[in-house]
């Protein structure tokens, strides 16, 4: 059993783009595409379908005819067979905006595997999926030194390297307000699409206000809550006895005696915190996943995110 708290492992963050995403992973996820549960109009015509009619020749669905519908879209063949009026719905193809927001606050620079490094690799992989599918990819970093940083409107595989370097440049530290960051992000956001927030969501001021800014504005929002194994089960990683715990962000101190009761209470509180975030997300059609950083990124992408419908 590792004793993380007694001897914290030195964080190994990626230094090269290859560290963020290897060739093998690129080959495996190159066939994936980002899926939005909602289809929105893009700024330019792209490969994405839109609800806007008449812009595409691709059939999407049927729906019963109601008064006022354009008679041109009635499927007369069905009327001939079933003697009922159905309207054919055609989708317009549009580009998809993919926004990946990475929390670079000091609390993310913790754990083994390191939460920030994990978030960088995950953001790189998702961004790569977006780039190869000609989506409009925007990277944002919040919470760290320098406040909100944004890398806007990348498109195409050739921007992979640029995106990788930008991610490599992210430095942890600081404790900028999540709410302010999300507010700024919402204001600067362009178009509609899929937005992923990769964070531990352990904000003392709460995550609710921040998420409200970015939820329900035409974005399909995903909250990927990354937690280190040492956070999930501190007792199994050497937290026993009397400790002075220092908050990585505000240097606040808590003196605890890691007794069985306290560990149980901590686990219950962590569970309640995650459950609270999930409830908040469900009520606002936000997807929420708790990700253990010991999970391989390719497993997460190829199995869990595909199963959850973010990728296909």
């Amino acid at each position: 059993m590792s004793e993380f708290f007694d001897r914290p492992a030195r964080a190994t963050r990626p230094e090269r783009v290859d560290d963020l995403i290897g060739n093998e992973l690129m080959a495996r996820i190159g066939q994936l595409d980002v899926v939005s549960r909602k289809i929105f109009s893009g700024k330019i015509q792209g490969e994405r379908r839109s609800k806007r009619r008449g812009q595409s020749v691709e059939f999407a669905d049927f729906r019963p005819y109601v008064h006022g519908d354009d008679l041109r879209f009635i499927d007369w063949n069905i009327f001939g067979r079933l003697d009922r009026l159905f309207l054919k719905i055609f989708l317009e193809e549009e580009d998809l905006s993919l926004l990946v927001a990475v929390d670079t606050s000091a609390s993310m620079d913790w754990g083994d595997p390191n939460k920030l490094a994990y978030a960088q690799r995950l953001a790189m992989a998702l961004g790569y999926v977006g780039l190869v599918n000609h989506n409009r990819v925007t990277m944002a970093a919040f919470g760290g030194e320098g406040g909100l940083r944004i890398l806007k409107n990348l498109r195409g595989r050739r921007r992979t390297s640029e995106m990788g370097r930008w991610l490599l440049d992210l430095q942890p530290g600081g404790a900028n307000s999540f709410e302010e960051s999300m507010k700024s992000l919402a204001v600067s956001r362009q178009g509609r699409g899929v937005m992923l927030v990769i964070s531990d969501f352990l904000f003392k001021e709460g995550y609710e206000k921040g998420l409200r800014y970015v939820a329900g504005r035409g974005y399909d929002l995903w909250c990927l809550q990354t937690l280190a194994p040492q956070e999930i089960d501190p007792a199994a990683h050497g937290l026993a006895g009397d400790w002075r715990l220092t908050d990585a962000e505000d240097r606040d101190e808590a003196e605890v005696t890691a007794s069985a009761g306290l560990i149980d209470q901590y686990r219950a509180n962590l569970g309640a915190w995650c459950a609270g975030l999930r409830d908040f997300a469900v009520r606002r059609s936000i997807m929420h996943l708790v990700v253990d950083t010991s999970t391989d990124v390719d497993v997460l992408l190829l199995e869990y995110l595909r199963r959850r419908g973010l990728l296909r």
Binding site: P229, I232, D242, A248, G261
Partner: protein, 695 residues
């Protein structure tokens, strides 16, 4: 006497107090001080602080848990300190061990300084009886009591009751213990107790050889040989103080009487008074002769107060080096006329708590003339000297005539004989032999020596009083190699010249040479020597100055041949018949002070011999010692009687061990639970080894 409700004694209270006063504040300080915590960084303290608050808010025992540890640790320290103080307490248990009840019967125990006019020994006996009752308390359902024995000790120790489990025998034995006027010596009592309590065959006795013995001592602590004793492993001593620490006493320490040299009909009496009180006292003294008052001191005698710290019982000098010093005063009475034998008694008019030493007596014999015999060819110088001495009768006998006398030879007080005139089978008697006789064992004559001079002489010996032998020259002497019990008082270059031999009823002063073979008869010292020898052998001194006797000694009178029995009248008036063996009647040891009168009849009519026995010296110090030192161990006295003190430290230590185990368990319990809980509650989130991903 009312026994305390909770009797508890501490052998080493200071140790426990020091340990407790250091460790308990230290433990409390550790609780008050902040723990030295290990430091770690966490993403956020939000959840931890909330958890701690939740713990405090939701767990009813949260506040009690650290207190429980503190309570256990305080209890642990308390028990350890308690054990270190070596408490001893009356648990009401006889314990099955052996108990020896030791009662001091010395003269000081006769003091009446305690309540109700009872003597200390009376009180001690009552307390000892209560102790026996306590040992046998509990009735039928109690564990069987251990064996108990009773020993009384003064000058000598006596087993009043050997080890028994009979309550009645013990109570009767305690009742039988009587007062003596002797000194207090415990060595023999301890030896007796150990001899009886040492189990030589444990299987046979059903006891363990190492089973402890409790020595319960009732005394005032004034025991002379305490420092020579030691408490052995397995023995525990309980000292019951009997007597008051502030008891004062004035007594007669010594008495002597002497007939005037010029007028034997006059007797002068000398008395030494001792004051053990802290104040100077005055008293009148009266002199009684055979019970009749003959003289009183013209004015009160002032006896100075005692000074210095109280002597430590058995502990040698007092800590500050100052010595205890009793107050002394000597009194000389004017001569009284008493041509006959009698008992001179001096009494203090002032009374105090110890009566025994308020009177002291001495027996004086009548001035007595000797019956002497000159046997064989005694030289003229010696004959002339003997003839000049006051004597009732001097007979000159040939060797054959003396041999025919047989046992009747004992009628002569002193026999002066030439060496060759004495028979080989020497009858009982006292002899001055000029030359080495064959009838005395141990002289070991082996030849002759010539041309001898005196190399050394024991001038302090009564025989050589005022005798100077520097100019003595001996032409021919018998060489002797006397046995070790033969005392040589004059030595030549290689051989003894004058020896004193004691062989049962025979006492002989032997010169190694015939006086005519030396120039001694021409010296003044020869006459003095012969006179000294005759007086010493005839015990003429006893007529002038009577030795006083002390309890513990034996009394002996020499009687004429044919007397079979002597009647002895004790101080309390009772009479005993004492058989005569080898010409002497011996009785003892003497227990009580007073006048002892021997009476017998022989061909000279009724004979009387009186002995005066006085209280043992040193017993006048009455202040009871609160603490005694037996060897190196100090034993603190208890005032009560009926308590069984049991060691409590083993129980305290056992309790401390139990609490230690409990404290250890309480402290580590949370870790065990935590490890188990971790395994059960965290791992299943990712069933089948899958990563933990929750929606």
């Amino acid at each position: 006497m009312t026994a305390p409700l909770v009797a508890i004694a501490w052998l080493t209270p200071l140790t426990g107090i020091v340990v407790a006063s250091v460790l308990v504040p230290l433990l409390l300080a550790l609780y008050f001080l902040k723990l030295r915590r290990r430091a770690a960084s966490v993403p956020t303290t939000l959840l931890w602080k909330r958890s701690v608050e939740d713990m405090r808010a939701n767990t009813p025992f949260q506040r009690l848990r650290p207190s429980l540890l503190l309570l256990l640790q305080l209890l642990l320290l308390g028990f350890v300190a308690f054990a270190l103080m070596q408490p001893r307490m009356d648990l009401g248990l006889s314990g099955g061990g052996r108990t020896v009840i030791m009662l001091d019967t010395s003269a000081s125990m006769g003091a009446t300084d305690l309540a109700d006019g009872k003597t200390r020994l009376d009180v001690a006996k009552e307390q000892a009886a209560e102790r026996v009752e306590a040992l046998f308390a509990g009735g039928l359902f109690a564990a069987p009591p251990g064996e108990t024995m009773v020993i009384a000790f003064g000058d000598a120790a006596r087993i009043v009751q050997p080890f028994t489990r009979s309550r009645g025998d013990l109570l009767r034995a305690i009742e039988r213990v009587g007062q003596t006027d002797g000194a207090s010596r415990i060595g023999e009592a301890l030896a007796l107790a150990r001899a009886f309590s040492t189990v030589t065959n444990p299987e046979e006795r059903g006891m363990q050889p190492e089973e402890g013995v409790t020595l319960e001592l009732w005394s005032d602590g004034r025991i002379f040989d305490l420092a020579d004793q030691a408490v052995r492993p397995g023995e525990s001593v309980v000292y019951h103080v009997t007597g008051r620490a502030d008891a004062a006493n004035l007594g007669i320490e010594g008495i002597a009487a002497e007939r005037s040299a010029s007028d034997p009909g006059l007797i002068q009496v000398f008395v030494s008074l001792r004051n053990d009180g802290r104040e100077e006292v005055e008293t009148d003294l009266e002199l009684l002769l055979d019970g009749e008052r003959r003289s009183v001191t013209p004015r009160p005698v002032r006896v100075p107060a005692a000074s210095g710290p109280e002597p430590v019982a058995g502990g040698g000098p007092s800590p500050d080096g100052a010595a205890y010093k009793a107050g002394y005063e000597r009194v000389t009475f004017p001569p009284v006329i008493q041509p006959r034998a009698g008992v001179m008694e001096v009494r203090l008019v002032r009374k105090d708590s110890l009566r025994a030493d308020d009177a002291s007596s001495v027996a004086v014999a009548a001035p007595r003339r000797l019956r002497m015999a000159l046997v064989g060819a005694v030289d003229e110088f010696t004959r002339t000297t003997v003839a000049l001495m006051p004597a009732e009768r001097i007979e000159s006998l040939s060797a054959d005539d003396f041999a025919k006398l047989g046992a009747k030879a004992g009628d002569f007080d002193v026999v002066v004989a030439a060496a060759g005139a004495l028979p080989k089978d020497l009858p009982p008697g006292r002899y001055l032999v000029l030359g080495v006789p064959a009838g005395i064992e141990g002289l070991n004559a082996y030849g002759t020596k010539t041309g001898l001079a005196v190399r050394s002489q024991k001038s302090a010996h009564p025989l050589l009083r005022a005798v100077n032998l520097d100019d003595l020259h001996v032409r021919t002497a018998t060489a002797m190699a006397p046995a070790s019990d033969v005392e040589s008082i004059v030595d030549g270059p290689d051989v003894p010249l004058v020896v004193v031999a004691r062989r049962g009823p025979v006492t002989a002063v032997v010169t190694a040479f015939d006086p005519l073979q030396s120039d001694w008869p021409y010296q003044r010292g020869f006459v003095t020597f012969v006179a000294n020898a005759v007086e010493w052998l005839g015990a003429v001194d006893q007529a002038a100055v009577q030795e006083e006797h002390r309890p513990g000694e034996t009394l002996s009178v020499r009687v004429s041949a044919g007397v079979k029995e002597v009647e002895l009248t004790l101080p309390d008036g009772t009479r005993e018949q004492v058989p005569v063996r080898e010409g002497s009647a011996t009785w003892g040891p003497v227990a009580r002070a007073g006048t002892y009168l021997f009476r017998w009849s022989d061909d000279r009519g009724e004979q009387r011999r009186q002995f005066a026995v006085n209280v043992a010296m040193g017993e006048g110090l009455l202040s009871a010692a609160g603490e005694i030192s037996i060897g190196t161990q100090k034993v603190t006295g208890t005032a009560g009687g009926g308590i069984t003190l049991s060691d409590l430290w083993p129980y305290a230590l056992a309790a401390a061990l139990v609490i230690l185990s409990l404290e250890w368990w309480v402290y580590h319990r949370r870790h065990w639970i935590r490890r188990d809980a971790s395994a059960q509650r965290v791992r299943p989130l990712g069933a089948g080894g899958a990563p933990i991903i929750r929606e």
